[in-house]
């Protein structure tokens, strides 16, 4: 490829090797703020361009911080095990958009068949447990001794 100078034609295409992971915020964030875990080498400008060019998301402001992963745990050889560091980005969306992290594991509504099967299973387990236990009048004392 010929050497690139400013104003010249762009002959090479660079695709970013980054990825961004949208996470559920640990502390409640304002409605227009989305929290991402990004690669340590990404800058605020990179994050803004990434979201705007690839995903067409209007970005108003980006703030980043680096989360240090602790080095306190020890393995079976008493060596310290480091949890990896990662960068967290708080992105405020433009044009009044809001974002709420979705609930990924909603309670599934059970139909009548599953519900009755679950009830049957619970009753069966209860009966089994009662058979295992001894006489309730003995107050939990084992029955391998005595009359």
């Amino acid at each position: 490829y010929p050497l690139f100078q400013r104003g010249g034609p762009q002959l090479r295409i660079f695709r970013p090797n980054f990825f961004m992971l949208a996470v559920r915020p640990g502390v409640p964030q304002p409605e227009d703020t989305v929290q991402f875990r990004v690669s340590m080498e990404m800058t605020k400008l990179d994050i803004r361009n990434y979201l705007e060019r690839i995903y067409n998301v209007p970005v108003a402001a980006v703030r980043t911080r680096i989360q240090y992963g602790a080095n306190n745990k020890r393995n079976h050889r008493n060596q310290r095990v480091k949890k990896p560091d990662y960068k967290v980005a708080y992105v405020q969306l433009g044009q009044g958009q809001t974002f709420q992290f979705p609930n990924l594991f909603p309670e599934k509504e059970q139909d009548a068949e599953t519900r009755s099967f679950d009830d049957f299973k619970d009753k069966f387990m209860e009966k089994e447990k009662q058979k295992q236990e001894g006489d309730p009048r003995r107050g939990g004392v084992p029955d391998w001794f005595g009359l």
């Binding site: 409640p28 964030q29 227009d32 703020t33 209007p58 108003a60 703030r63 405020q92 433009g94 009044g96």
Partner: protein
């Protein structure tokens, strides 16, 4: 003998036999903590001088949020309104000016004042009554023929002179990087305000007795709401959230008499936004340093009330920058947040100088005005402080809210070319003049 009562003895003795049963002072309990707080409040109430009160009020230093009036944070004015319990009313406060017939020349000798139902000067060139749009450059109303009380032409020429001198006639080098505002709009604003104040002091005796500060400091420290301490040796305790504003307006006019109230103390003109999140999400950062309360001069100064502040927006909050980043709606937010925060700090500090504080709430409203500009666009704000009680206990008992009237930013001129100012906007100048002519009724 033990069954007969001696008649005539007063049964309860004058002083009680036992001391009152109250909570301990030194115990590690909530009752003891509240007793300690009450003792502290009584100490502040009983302080002899205002300086002593201020010293005790800001004695304990703890990490507090630094609130910057000129901030790039998104939607900062909503957050600032929730911190200061302020209602934002768009537009200027209503001037209940009667439709004064221009013929009644000598009838009313009062001179017009901005938010007051004063009649404009008889036969004034200025449009009497807010209903008339002052866009008509020179209203041909000096029918009385008396020297027009307000010569708009003269004031316009003063403003144009200041503008041309700074931007055209004077030979200046290129401004240093990010120092554009100090280069031209700063000196222009100073020159404009000082010349206008000097020329209008003839008809506003309050201006004649006023004090013009250049680049003063205005500081205020207050507590609002509570939070649980997250980290550290005080983890888990419920702490009040502390804020501090340290502001440097470009210019400030202080006067010895207070501006009159705009609406009664207990009026309710809107809602205060309630934000559940912590202030650090704005983003707002904490630091621990001196808790200062200052209006621009010390307590003993006779000019202890505020009249008008003038703020100059810095280079990092230019319009072009917001337009380039496609954040057009944040331009107005910058003006509003600056107006609300600076005026709240100034009026609250003035109230503290008179001895009011969060436990001793203000008995009369404190009114101040501000002009926020970036050299070309002007936005006008008027603030009425009705309550200082923002702490957790006092905010429950006080239904009062502070009120801020504010306009959008309008350009004063379009462009300066070849020794001419093109597209001069008289409305903005007239609003500025009205601000400067504002004075209490007695004067």
């Amino acid at each position: 003998w033990f069954s007969e009562m001696v008649p005539g003895t007063p049964s309860p003795p004058a002083s009680p036999l036992y001391p009152p049963v109250v909570a301990s002072i030194t115990a590690k309990s909530k009752a003891a903590k509240s007793r300690r707080l009450q003792r502290f409040n009584q100490r502040v109430h009983a302080a002899a001088t205002v300086e002593e009160k201020l010293r005790l009020y800001g004695k304990l230093q703890r990490p507090k949020y630094m609130v910057y009036p000129q901030t790039f944070a998104l939607n900062a004015d909503r957050w600032y309104r929730s911190f200061t319990k302020t209602v934002l009313v768009p537009g200027m406060p209503p001037r209940a000016a009667p439709a004064k017939p221009p013929a009644a020349a000598g009838a009313t000798p009062e001179i017009g004042r901005a938010p007051e139902p004063g009649a404009e000067a008889p036969g004034a060139a200025e449009a009497p009554g807010a209903a008339d749009s002052p866009g008509a450059a020179k209203n041909p109303e000096p029918a009385a023929g008396a020297a027009p009380y307000l010569d708009v032409g003269e004031l316009r020429s003063l403003a144009c002179d200041a503008l041309l001198q700074e931007s055209f006639y004077q030979n200046k080098k290129r401004p240093f990087l990010y120092r554009d505002q100090d280069h031209t709009p700063g000196p222009f604003l100073t020159q404009l305000v000082s010349t206008l104040a000097a020329s209008l002091s003839g008809r506003n005796p309050l201006l004649a007795a006023s004090c013009l500060d250049l680049n003063p400091q205005v500081n205020y420290y207050w507590r609002h709401g509570t939070e649980v301490v997250v980290h550290g040796h005080r983890k888990g305790r419920v702490d009040p959230v502390r804020f501090q504003i340290d502001d440097n307006p470009h210019l400030q006019i202080r006067v010895p008499k207070q501006l009159p109230e705009v609406v009664p103390l207990e009026s309710d003109l809107g809602d205060v936004p309630v934000i559940d999140h912590k202030p650090s999400k704005l983003p707002l950062f904490k630091k621990q340093y001196e808790n200062k309360v200052f209006i621009g001069s010390k307590v003993a100064d006779p000019c202890c009330y505020g009249h008008t502040q003038f703020h100059l927006l810095p280079d990092r909050l230019k319009r072009e920058r917001f337009i380039r980043e496609r954040l057009e709606d944040q331009i107005e937010v910058v003006y509003r947040s600056n107006g609300i925060a600076s005026l709240f700090a100034w009026t609250a500090a003035q109230a503290m100088y008179q001895g009011f504080w969060s436990e001793a709430d203000v008995t009369r409203p404190f009114v101040s005005q501000a002009v926020v500009t970036d050299g070309k666009y002007f936005a006008f704000f008027c603030y009425q402080l009705n309550t200082l009680a923002l702490t957790e206990e006092t905010i429950k008992n006080s239904p009062r809210k502070n009120i801020c009237w504010g306009t959008d930013s309008k350009p004063l001129y379009d462009v300066v070319e070849d020794g001419n100012v093109k597209g001069f906007n008289d409305e903005v100048l007239l609003q500025l003049v009205r601000f400067l002519l504002n004075r209490p009724k007695e004067l």
